[in-house]
Assembly symmetry: D3
Homo-oligomer: 146 residues x 6
């Protein structure tokens, strides 16, 4: 998924404003999730979204997403966002984020999602990491904030 940063996406500094980048990131992750699920998927949570370097008006934006792990009705999708200067082709990392999507039917009710079959050791490491992060998330949500 690619985009161009236009003035309509910019804040007063001439950079793509945070909410716009988040909206692109959410759409890219959602398409990835829907392709894995083979149906509708909606955003349930976002963690570790980090803005590294901003995007200026005129930059190209390249977004990539992959499924890290699939659980019963949810899946963790990792999205990366890169900026690219048309004149030089130079690329830099702007954003990384971990999305949790859940599979839903047409009425919005939860639906089981297909399993993810890891093939390589790297795949398996990613599933393990995602599984641990999921446990930590559930833990954090139980502990009420002050």
């Amino acid at each position: 998924m690619t985009q161009l940063v236009f003035p309509e996406h910019a804040n007063a500094l001439g950079k793509a404003f945070g909410g716009q980048v988040m909206a692109w990131t959410d759409m890219c992750g959602g398409i990835c999730a829907m392709r894995h699920v083979g149906g509708l998927a909606v955003t349930a949570a976002i963690d570790d979204l980090v803005f590294d370097r901003p995007l200026a008006v005129g930059d190209m934006v390249v977004l990539e997403a992959r499924v890290n792990a699939a659980f019963r009705t949810s899946l963790e999708v990792e999205v990366g966002v890169w900026g690219e200067t048309p004149a030089t082709g130079a690329r830099w990392k702007c954003v990384t984020a971990l999305f949790t999507f859940v599979g839903v039917d047409e009425k919005g009710a939860l639906r089981p999602v297909p399993a993810l079959l890891p093939e390589t050791d790297e795949d398996r490491a990613r599933v393990e990491d995602a599984t641990r992060r999921r446990a930590e998330r559930l833990q954090r949500r139980k502990a009420p904030r002050a």
Copy 2:
């Protein structure tokens, strides 16, 4: 900050789509951050953003933000989003999220932010929690993902 959910904000299910809610959340947190900073602030990270219950077309949206803790050049802002049905006044929690904003000058360079002076025990507990979460975030960012 309040909004109305219009069809232009909706996904194919007639609910406000995730990216739109994130954009509102970012703007609400950003205004809160800029008021504390007394200048510009941009989004550096988002964690523990959780979607609890969706917003339908026609719902009102109420957003609230508060500064949990201020560090040297960054601050943690907690944003809550509620849905409200015009006909009944019923309210429900839709989203909570923890934003990290950084103070910047007109050229985007980091700038120290004012200290937050906690007044009550609850305030102090929030600063402590935010400080611990900040350490955990920095820890997670050091550990490279598979």
Copy 3:
């Protein structure tokens, strides 16, 4: 209700363009009207909308609305719009406007609206003023324009 002025809201002079400010004003007044009505409300008329000082890209926008008076199926809502500079916290009045909203059901048919019970002398003065303005409006609408 608060907003940030982004380039997407600006005219060629770098100021929020009139139609955008009017759209924010209408939304703020509409939310206020729907809360009083306890149901749907749509805009019927606007009077005495005055632009005092413009909003520039980067300014924050603060909108406030209150019900001046409720009639049988309509109510007068006064909306004020202020600009705010993030760096200094300085505020200035941008716009005031008097909206007439009518209560409607899901099909758009008129519906009676709850009475407004004035509590203070100031409240009562506002009801009186709004009642007189309503009579003048109806008078103006009867006299056909050249």
Copy 4:
């Protein structure tokens, strides 16, 4: 000026929402004002904006504007908005409004506007009516609201 009402312009009832219609009305009036002024013009005030019948998704919108009178640095522009059903060509009046625009230079400072030379008795009646309304507006602005 013509438009089509798309879902992106609609409220939860499937009608063009008030703020969107106001934004179209403002743009139409502004173009009319800039043509008379021969330069930039910005909205200073709106009065007697009346919504008669709503616009549904799929309707065409036809907007017309004319200068009623020109004063030293301001002019009154009357805007009419009609709905039109593509299938039948039927037209109905949706909105009328009286805008006050002021001529400005590139920095936003007030600039004198060209005189309007009425040619017919009807033209002269419009100038008279607009002149009287302007006096009433200035009168209303002097009297502080409760």
Copy 5:
């Protein structure tokens, strides 16, 4: 149909970006087609769309459309786009384009369109030219591209 070019329509060069101009052109052509058809019409093809001179932020945009010829279920609509400088009234041609629209019913199925009755020699020449272009288009579509 008239518009003002705002920053939200601009690319990184401060000019209305191609896709925005195309969207305006499509809407103007579509309204013209629906008026001829007396019902819904959707875009089937675009040819010979040529950008002559760009539109800058602050320019006014004037669009005009006319039906060149009507066939059984389709019609060719020619759209012209002009830029206009508010300060001087100077106009220049920006875009010309030939749209093919088809008449459709509420479910999107093709519907015959009314004949166009040419009145002048110029009208007849336009019908002839459009008929020849239509034959060439169908020819080009048969020949598969490499």
Copy 6:
């Protein structure tokens, strides 16, 4: 480049409206052109844009572009648009179009574009076809329309 069709992109039939699809197509072609050019590129012409089957709200949109041929300051870019149903993964062709982009510098002045080196027979056939189409386009532009 991928997208999701939301209600904000739809016409009154619940399908992505022509102008929106054209805007996506233009952006996808423009990114492809800028990558080839290694700098800015703006749309000069569009031909043979054909809508085959519409996109409904909820569909995914997949866009692909490739450079067919590069001339002195212009290049022909072919863009294809496919719809994809999330539930089944089924894909269909929606749109094909031939864009002519020109390389420009920061002030919008024409700039030579790099040559395209065809490697296979298919590549060479595409260059030949595009060269012939370019000659036909220039021919058509010389012949004034009635």
